[in-house]
């Protein structure tokens, strides 16, 4: 961390301390500011006053002066006297200081939201954004209000908030997806587009699973920085623990590190993490292994063998599943077998996870029991269908009896009517 950054912040902070008491007291709206600003007829001045009414800070009892300073009780332009602490629209660097004045003060924040962290400014200073703003004076980078907005700040749990999980990608993408804005920075601008194609976004937007990762889950929020190439695995491993564990023990972990290859993302991409499927493994057309391996080398052979294991279990599972379903549709009782077959599905899921150890043995350990369970379930399906055959035999017997009775009746009728 640059000492200069801290220094300039301290300078700003000092100025602020002189200007108005710290931290601001919550004061009761309505304020004098709003009365005039709503009447003024200039959108740039009206909108903030209007928007702020639904801001979380307004709800907690803060007014305009909490950030902008000045004296709301004074009439007209008097209120905006710099002597009364009025600062107008804070500059981009000043914003960090204005927000941090309260948000970095644990004792103060405890009164409003004891669960809220107070290290945002500290984190921000370590971030790519913070370092550029505070050290290089680059005002194009994001500061508090870029993501949280200036007058419509809402907690991330509020679906209308710009930092709600569903909105984060859009919020970050507003700058990072804009090639013109990002010109001059060594960062690609296709992340948003790629992320929108990923399984993570699909989980979040289609399935409504808000725990699926969006930008900040990997990059951090206030400490936003690109994950280092070498430690991307730690980030993914936060959720995908089994794979990460297997991978860490595998030979790939060492080799990738030596090659400077970014772990998980080598095969799965970074922003465009699409749903992983069996086709990624092996030597097929869609397999990622073929980027380095071929059928000639040992790795290629291992990949093909692991794929075959998984395919075998999947086929066996499908076979058992199909026959049980057929039996069920025919009205047979197979729920116990179907219940047990779940375990084979488990084994398949586990095998797909452990294949990240990249050894045939590890995969085999999961596959073997799965195959046994599938075979047993399949056998039960066969037996159920045999029972169905038995039913049909029973039917044949009863039909024969009915036909005999019909025959008897016909004879009886003929005998009766012969006279």
């Amino acid at each position: 961390m640059g000492v200069g950054g801290t220094g300039s912040l301290l300078t700003l902070g000092f100025l602020a301390v002189v200007a108005w008491p710290m931290p601001a007291e919550a004061q009761a709206p309505p304020e004098g500011c709003v009365a005039c600003h709503l009447e003024i007829g200039d959108d740039r001045l009206v909108t903030p006053a209007k928007e702020f009414q639904e801001d979380i800070h307004a709800a907690k009892g803060f007014g305009c002066t909490a950030c902008h300073g000045g004296d709301p009780k004074a009439a007209g332009m008097e209120a905006m006297d710099p002597a009364k602490g009025y600062i107008g629209k804070p500059g981009r660097q000043q914003v960090v200081q204005v927000c941090g004045r309260c948000h970095s003060d644990a004792r103060f924040m405890r009164q409003y939201n004891p669960a809220l962290r107070v290290d945002q400014v500290v984190e921000y200073r370590t971030s790519g954004h913070g370092r550029r703003l505070l050290e290089a004076g680059d005002t194009k980078v994001a500061t508090c209000t870029s993501c949280h907005r200036a007058h419509t700040i809402r907690p991330p749990s509020d679906p209308r908030s710009s930092v709600h999980p569903l909105k984060v990608a859009e919020t970050c993408g507003a700058c990072h997806g804009d090639a013109k804005y990002m010109k001059g920075y060594p960062v690609p601008t296709d992340q948003l587009e790629k992320y929108r194609r990923s399984v993570h976004w699909k989980m979040m937007s289609v399935k409504g699973d808000l725990s699926a990762p969006t930008c900040n889950d990997c990059h951090g929020n206030h400490g936003a920085a690109p994950p280092g190439v070498s430690w991307v695995g730690n980030v993914c491993g936060q959720c995908h623990t089994v794979m990460a564990e297997s991978f860490a023990k595998s030979r790939h972990a060492k080799v990738f590190a030596q090659m400077g290859s970014p772990g998980c993302a080598t095969c799965h991409e970074n922003h465009e993490v699409t749903e992983a499927g069996d086709e990624m493994l092996g030597l097929g057309a869609a397999a990622v292994c073929t980027r380095c391996h071929s059928s000639e080398d040992r790795g290629g052979k291992t990949a093909a063998a692991m794929r075959e294991q998984i395919d075998t279990l999947r086929a066996e599972y499908d076979k058992a599943h199909t026959i049980l379903q057929k039996a069920e549709h025919a009205g047979m009782e197979v729920s116990q077998a179907q219940f047990e077959l779940n375990e084979a599905k488990n084994a398949l899921v586990k095998a797909r996870a452990t294949m990240h150890a990249f050894t045939i043995e590890a995969v085999k350990r999961e596959i073997e029991p799965g195959l046994q369970i599938s075979a047993k379930a399949y056998e039960r399906g066969v037996r159920a269908l045999e029972e169905l055959q038995f039913r049909r035999k029973g039917l044949a017997v009863s039909v024969v009896i009915i036909l005999a009775l019909i025959g008897g009746l016909v004879f009886k009728i003929r005998q009766l009517e012969r006279r």
Binding site: H329, A330, G331, M332, E333, S335, R391, R392, G394, L395, S398, V399, I402, L403, L405, I406, L409, V410, K412, I413, L416, E417
Partner: protein
């Protein structure tokens, strides 16, 4: 016949003295069935009655395991199908016999129509028969929901929604039928009560009337047959006709058993009121022509909502069907009535065509 020596039996005599078996036997022996080229249609009423008896028997058996609540209905049927021995058979027969019964009922209705058996003095027989048709459709509609599976749930939802299109009392009727604003567990309990208590009670009454009237008037001979034959051929009901009836019933039973063994009633997924409707929900086949008609109607006819027009149309159609014996004056006077024959044929063709369309068209809507 061997009745004289049977009278010697102690039991027979004992019962005869108390309930007059001899009179009944005399009555049975007196009953005759006319024999002519249309005699085959006489079997359909009896066939429907037999299938009704099958329904009563299997229905009572199903009651032993069924539980009428949204939480348990599906599971109890699943249990019945899976755990109870021959549960699949009983349920499949109940489901298949219901379909066959409605089918024979329709054939019975149209044979009576085309042979003009409704002419005086049999108007009341026709009316009670129409009432029985309505009850049978009610049985079908309420019974369909009882397994509480996905398909039945949504079909019932659509079906009860249509009652909402009835003018003035529609929304009240819908609420009354559903036992609330939505199809819920309350609807299931209500349908169950209707299916196993209210409708059977009404059926006993109407069926008794119907059979009494048939007994009283005897079999109707079609007008075009009546005129031609100078010497009417007849056959005693007991035992000649009854034995033939038995042959038909046994054949029906064999067909039922085969259907049950080869196409057992499926259960599908449990109903989930919060899930979206599955593609291709269909009502029972005997409601299909109405369902399809409502689908074909434009959104608005002469400024009135198409569905309302359709529902009113079917109401008027039902009323017309009910009043056929009174509207058809020519038949009542003993003259040939080609108009009503034509109407009958047109109704049959209409129902067949729309039902066909309902099953062949791709389910996209």
């Amino acid at each position: 016949m061997a009745t004289p020596d049977r009278r010697q039996w102690g039991v027979w005599q004992w019962l005869d003295e108390r309930i007059g078996l001899a009179d009944l036997a005399k009555l049975a022996r007196k009953k005759e069935v006319p024999v002519h080229r249309h005699s085959i249609w006489y079997y359909l009423g009896g066939m429907t009655l037999f299938l009704l008896m099958v329904q009563v028997t299997t229905g009572i058996l199903l009651l032993l395991y069924y539980r009428p609540s949204a939480e348990e209905a599906y599971e109890s049927v699943q249990f019945l199908m899976a755990e109870v021995q021959f549960g699949w058979l009983i349920r499949s027969i109940h489901s298949w016999a219901a379909n066959l019964m409605i089918f024979t009922l329709f054939v019975h209705l149209f044979s009576v129509w085309l042979l003009k058996a409704y002419r005086p003095p049999r108007e009341l027989t026709w009316l009670s028969g129409m009432g029985l048709l309505g009850l049978a459709l009610g049985f079908g509609f309420t019974g369909y929901l009882l397994p509480w599976n996905e398909l039945a749930y949504f079909a019932t939802k659509v079906g009860t929604e249509i009652t909402g299109a009835v003018p003035v009392v529609g929304s009240f009727l819908g609420r009354l039928l559903r036992g609330g604003d939505e199809v819920t567990g309350a609807t299931l309990t209500r349908f169950y009560g209707i299916h196993v208590a209210i409708l059977p009670a009404l059926t006993v009454f109407l069926l008794g009337l119907h059979l009494f009237l048939v007994q009283r008037h005897g079999m109707s001979v079609p007008p075009n047959v009546e005129g031609h034959q100078a010497a009417r051929r007849v056959m005693p009901f007991v035992p000649n006709f009854l034995l033939r009836d038995l042959v038909g019933w046994l054949s029906a039973l064999a067909i039922l058993a085969a259907l049950a063994a080869y196409y057992p009633a499926e259960l599908g997924q449990k109903a989930d009121p919060f899930a979206s409707a599955p593609v291709g929900i269909k009502p029972e086949w005997y409601f299909m022509f109405m369902f399809k008609t409502l689908k074909y109607l434009p959104a608005s006819i002469l400024g009135i909502e198409g569905e309302i027009v359709g529902v009113i149309g079917f109401g008027l159609g039902g009323l017309f069907l009910l009043l056929v014996p009174f509207l058809d004056r020519r038949t009542a006077r003993g003259e040939p009535s080609h108009l009503f024959t034509m109407i009958g044929i047109m109704v049959i063709v209409y129902m067949i065509v729309l039902t066909y369309l309902g099953y062949t068209e791709v389910a996209t809507q």
